[in-house]
């Protein structure tokens, strides 16, 4: 086979064109992920190569109260934040989809929390939640509504809710703007048809908007769940996982153990333990939310 024939072959050429992308994926995604997973099965320490120890790290973590607490925190954080981000995001998208004055400006403003670097907005929240200097507490106190400053980050449950609120604030724009894009792809003729059939606003939403929007909801919520589940910066700035480890997420604990504590293998195992949960979230959105029959007005089989 001559060289020119070789390059004329569609399959060869296709593979050749794919090579750069495949190489990038391999070097920057597959290799680190593989290495991280492998480290999770070793007793590697920082500055010392590890040996294969099988599932010992995972057994260790399972028996560790702080690691179990971080799993609970992560699930709670992700669940509550995602639900709120979805509801608020959808609501905001529906509002922005109406003909409002200054529509373009409003849409740009909504994106702001998403544009500001997380580390910076987290710092702003750190001041808002400060035990001594919180402007929220100050305002409420001046209004005579509270006697003592709110212990936003000092009480375990309050700290969980406060960090979740900050996460929601940051995450809503992403959901809202993406869903808004989805809303604009829905053909007005569907709404006209529904109106002719005498559908109420609620029925229009339930039988037209929501089914037409589900594919994009599936995508946006998958991303949202992934971002939330792996959140790090916000917690690291606000609490470092405190008080009493009440806000430690798996990502922050993994960093604390692996990098600051030097237990690379254990930290990697903790990070690896996040993968099944992430896969479950992706699977759910793929198979759970992409229900074609329902989308087209039929019933699920």
């Amino acid at each position: 086979m001559s060289v020119s024939r070789f390059f004329d072959n569609r399959n060869t050429l296709g593979a050749l064109f794919l090579l750069p992308a495949a190489a990038l994926l391999l070097v920057f995604l597959t290799y680190p992920l593989g290495l991280g997973t492998w480290l999770g099965f070793t007793n590697a320490k920082i500055g010392r190569a590890g040996e294969w120890i099988g599932l010992e790290n995972f057994q260790f973590l399972f028996g560790d109260a702080v690691a179990r607490l971080s799993l609970f925190n992560t699930l709670f954080y992700t669940l509550v934040a995602s639900v709120f981000k979805f509801v608020l995001g959808l609501w905001l998208a529906l509002l922005l989809n109406k003909s409002l004055p200054f529509k373009a400006v409003l849409r740009a403003v909504v994106l702001l929390p998403f544009i500001v670097p997380t580390a910076l907005s987290a710092l702003a929240f750190w001041w808002l939640y400060d035990a001594q200097f919180s402007v929220l507490s100050w305002t409420l106190a001046k209004m005579g509504l509270i006697d003592s400053y709110i212990n936003f980050l000092g009480d375990p449950w309050l700290a969980r809710l406060s960090t979740i609120a900050a996460n929601i604030w940051r995450g809503v724009p992403f959901v809202a703007i993406t869903l808004l894009a989805g809303l604009q792809t829905i053909s007005p003729s569907l709404y006209e048809a529904a109106a002719l059939d005498g559908a109420t606003e609620w029925q229009k939403f339930w039988h037209v908007t929501l089914p037409m929007l589900t594919p994009i909801i599936a995508v946006v919520m998958t991303f949202s769940v992934l971002f939330t589940f792996t959140d790090f910066q916000l917690i690291y700035v606000l609490t470092r996982g405190g008080p009493l480890n009440a806000t430690h997420l798996m990502a922050t604990l993994s960093f604390q153990r692996a990098i600051l504590g030097g237990a690379l293998g254990e930290g990697a195992a903790l990070a690896t333990a996040m993968v099944p949960f992430l896969l479950a979230a992706i699977t759910f959105s793929y198979f759970g939310l992409q229900r074609r029959a329902w989308q087209q007005g039929g019933a699920d089989k």
Partner: protein, 437 residues
């Protein structure tokens, strides 16, 4: 012959007074160390980012002086103090990076075989400057040789408002834990409470929580690295901590390292544990309200507990030279140069005593006496107990501290989320996991 004379002189003068400046730089060397940097060397140094501006200014000025004197180019990178450990670890791991890294606490003991033996530098400096404090040997030595050259510690004292302490009925700051609790109760009653960080604050929370447990005789491990934190002594310490916590300003469970500085400078708390940076900030403040505070700020060493001796923990830093460095002699020269009197004393002065020396001779640095408020910081390294107490430094002690086992235990017991006994049991279980390997 001249060397012999000099040794004699050293012995004599060491007996006379530790504080006398012993020898000028550039004379014959007592140990086998000599300044012999490689010709045309380029040196990369990584150190922690200053806490007070004067530190960095002087440090860099001395670095420039080193460059001129030895014809060596030096690049100094500054990283936040908590980022130094991961960077140093990665450098050790991959065998490439800065030639010199100023790290903290257990760092050299995490990868001792990757570090250059600096026994010659340490012996030279020790002989020249009145010897190292005991704790420096623990931190700097491994297997009978020096693997790091101690730089000093960002020492902490009990920073307090003199007028508040007096208004609470105390003529001077209490020297023991019993008196300190009385003071805190009185301060609370006067509406000027104390505040100590109980969040995951690497510096401040570790510092005072270790002091508290050690002061009552509790310790994480014994001399053989067996975990013994669940002891009657620890529980007594935690009960004391619980009483102390009742007097704190609200919100300390959420406090990270900067919180106590902010609260103190705003006049919301009257006692906390901190470096001299609060005083430094007040003295150099542009806001007249904050500047006004400076004369009222006092410093005292951590009170002594029932164990009867000082039990302090300070942010201890040491210079490590990595074996992968191609200019090890230049690295050694740099590290030694920065510790010489001509550099070290002005550096301490520029930082108004933010860093306490590891070498006894620098006790006589005028910075400690020019303002009596500086004096307590002079003794920080002398009073210091290593974080691995009473066991060995290494992965287990580093992991236990990085995971806030001591801090979480104190916070759990103090806040009442667990009883002192439960908190101690939990800490025991957590620490055992680190020390089992």
């Amino acid at each position: 012959m001249s060397q012999f004379k000099r040794r004699d002189f050293l012995k004599m003068s060491a007996g006379l007074a530790a504080g006398v400046p012993l020898l000028a730089h550039g004379q014959a060397k007592p140990a086998a160390f000599a300044y012999r940097p490689e010709k045309g060397a380029r040196l990369r140094v990584l150190r922690w980012k200053r806490f007070v501006q004067g530190d960095e200014d002087a440090f860099m000025a001395h670095t420039r002086r080193f460059e001129q004197k030895f014809g060596v180019q030096v690049r100094v990178d500054h990283e936040g103090f908590e980022d130094v450990r991961p960077k140093a670890a990665v450098a050790a791991n991959v065998g490439s990076g800065p030639d010199v890294i100023y790290g903290f606490f257990d760092d050299p003991h995490l990868y001792p075989d990757k570090l250059v033996d600096v026994t010659d530098v340490a012996n030279y400096l020790g002989a020249k400057y009145g010897g190292w404090y005991d704790v420096c040997r623990t931190y700097g030595m491994s297997g009978g040789k020096w693997i790091a050259v101690p730089l000093g510690a960002a020492g902490a004292c009990f920073t307090h408002r003199i007028s508040h302490v007096q208004a609470a009925g105390f003529r001077e700051f209490p020297k023991d834990t019993a008196g300190f609790l009385e003071l805190c109760k009185a301060l609370k009653a006067k509406g000027t409470p104390p505040g100590f960080a109980l969040g995951n604050a690497t510096g401040d929370a570790n510092s005072w929580c270790h002091w508290l447990v050690w002061a009552f005789g509790g310790k994480m491990v014994d001399e053989k690295n067996n975990v013994v934190i669940n002891s009657p002594e620890t529980i007594r310490a935690l009960e004391y901590g619980k009483e102390l916590y009742q007097t704190f300003v609200p919100g300390t469970l959420s406090w990270l390292d900067p919180n106590n500085n902010k609260a103190f400078l705003d006049g919301q708390i009257s006692v906390t544990n901190n470096g001299i940076s609060i005083y430094y900030a007040a003295k150099n403040a542009t806001d007249p309200k904050v500047k006004e505070l400076a004369p009222d700020i006092g410093h005292a060493n951590f009170p002594i507990g029932p164990i009867g001796r000082a039990t302090e923990l300070h942010l201890f830093s040491q210079a490590m030279i990595f074996k992968y460095s191609k200019v090890q002699q230049a690295a050694k020269a740099y590290v030694a140069f920065m510790m010489e009197k001509e550099q070290y004393e002005p550096w301490q002065q520029a930082a108004i005593g933010y860093v306490t020396q590891p070498l006894k001779a620098y006790e006589s640095n005028p910075i400690w006496t020019v303002d009596p408020k500086h004096t307590p910081y002079r003794d920080c390294v002398k009073n210091m107990t290593p974080n691995s107490y009473a066991g060995r430094l290494g992965y287990a002690s580093a992991g236990t501290m990085a995971d806030f086992v001591m801090v979480n235990m104190v916070a759990e017991a103090a806040s009442g989320s667990r009883s002192p006994k439960e908190a101690a049991e939990r800490a025991q279980a957590r620490a055992q996991r680190y020390y089992k390997v």
